[in-house]
Symmetry: C2
Subunit: 341 residues, 2 copies
Amino acid sequence: MTRIVDVARRAGVSTATVSRVLNGKSVRPALAAAVHDAVAELGYTPDRTARSLRRRHSETVALVLPDVENPFFTAVARGVEDAALAAGYSVVLCNTDDRADKEDLYLTVADVENMAGVVLAPADAHPAIDRLVERGRSVVVIDRRVAHDVDQVTFDNRALGHRAATALLDRGFRRIACVTGPATTSTAVDRAEGWRAALHDAGLAADDDLLVHANFRVDGGYDAIGTLLGRSPAPDAVVATNNLAGVGVLRALADRHGGPVPAPAGDGPDGPGLGVGVIGDLPFATSRTSDVALVPLNPRGLGTTAARLLLERIAGSDAPARHLVQEIGDGTDAVAPARPA
Amino acid sequence: MTRIVDVARRAGVSTATVSRVLNGKSVRPALAAAVHDAVAELGYTPDRTARSLRRRHSETVALVLPDVENPFFTAVARGVEDAALAAGYSVVLCNTDDRADKEDLYLTVADVENMAGVVLAPADAHPAIDRLVERGRSVVVIDRRVAHDVDQVTFDNRALGHRAATALLDRGFRRIACVTGPATTSTAVDRAEGWRAALHDAGLAADDDLLVHANFRVDGGYDAIGTLLGRSPAPDAVVATNNLAGVGVLRALADRHGGPVPAPAGDGPDGPGLGVGVIGDLPFATSRTSDVALVPLNPRGLGTTAARLLLERIAGSDAPARHLVQEIGDGTDAVAPARPA
DNA sequence: TTGCACGCTGTAATCGATTACTGGCAGGCT
DNA sequence: AGCCTGCCAGTAATCGATTACAGCGTGCAA
């Protein structure tokens, strides 16, 4: 292992000078050149651990997610990883299973490991990030809004719900149900609100019968179809407000009578078909998705945006906390400042 | 930040004693108790960075994967994470996109970051792990076999291929094609070999026409169906040797005539249906999977097994390199030693 | 009683990079 | 000439935990 002293000796300078050259402080050109030569000859890379000890923070960021097995979050992870890596940071991945206690654990780990920062998709509306923030660690919250005064990046969830419902309205459906997540998550609530607003805008009632608070997993969507088909009158279409609920809905329909229908007229042989709208992407769909009204998201963009904010904080920005809205149009990753609440 | 000296002062002992208590060396019980009290009162946690500097390796393991967006690998990641976390290690995730250059980069990062070890699903048969091994870092290779003398955990891929083909034979199919991955990966080759053997065992010819070397992604499976339907005589069923190729196959069939058929008799309205067998799981399938002959895997078990081996190495085991075969029966994570090659 | 061995504890060195502080030198000003 | 300023480079302190080494006390044997 070559150390900084080896480089210093070889270049005929002090370790301080080597350090300065490597960190871009001003040094006489001749010495800088000698240092660079020595570094190249010895193949020297600074020891990250020693550097972290001295600098009091590491070059690692934590990405704390409810569920890495959800393709939405894996895409987020890719985005974070891309941006972080380009800046020389590594990403450690942490799964909370949507449980506050595991989340706390990981946030503590991030703290005692002196990680440079945390990107957090919180399990509930009150993540334990205050201590981290007080200690000067950078934190960016994504996907779900929280009341804390930290940087946040979310989608315009109300607009997403509105758009999904409108797409089904445009296809001619009239009695449109909504399968959303727990009422405790802002994402679930906001998307459902958008759905409701779209129905109102179309002059239709958003019957409470038609709103199901399930969970954001496959089984939630699956079971919700059972519930909804028991309503009378039954809906003629359903909006699933996230990808996994959408998978569950589609699988339930496939198990019953062959899948979603593109328009109200298209009754299948096994009963009246349901139209389906899904907020999110279905990268592993095993059926035709052209009959589904998809409102694609841009989770990877969400990840890169969050990482960018985080890196700015790590670099020392002390601007007031920002709340960005991740744009989704056509997979670009443009970002708009949040509407004033 | 409370440091070890604070604890030492409070307990009225030296830092050496505190360290020894915390690391389980023998210390007079009275002092140990005092240290424990002080630790509890101050809420002390040792600084991992400082510890890593001194111990010359960190408490982090790298998990280097071709593609975290593939549900198979995310499940592997969960397994590794569970086991590593239980042992107090963090996991950093690295995406190689199946490219050797990115893989090299990450392996180098793992080295210069003094990571305790690496779990690697290699992009090709010759990962650059020799330098890591020489430097005494622990390495476990998973999923694909390599010629290096390191611990490896794989599935019995030949048996998997055999089983998938046999399942289709049992359903009455006779002209069974195979869509597998690049001929450069042992996994793709072995599974195809199993497919071929099953046909031979049934007294059928494994026509070269029916073996497609695609890639292990969705588009590979999708396009392969186009190729196979152009053969004459066309196959009556197809084995996809990994999950994503399976997704592609199913989606291609859905786009053409409504999906897989459970048996050769079941011609659909839009043409002769194909039977489908898939090695792997389809957690995000949006169609009925009961018509698909699934050979489920146990990627999470693969991950925990690999992590277990890795942790043993990190703890200092210098047993000869092991090659384990991950069992898949019923989702358990039992492990058998490899058959002698 | 003296000597030796053993076991526990404390002091201080160590891991490797960063950086506060000090000192030297050059150039400009009075 | 004498003084001050500013720039640059080197020395050494520093981050916090671990551990080699030394010292001390106890107990046993001669």
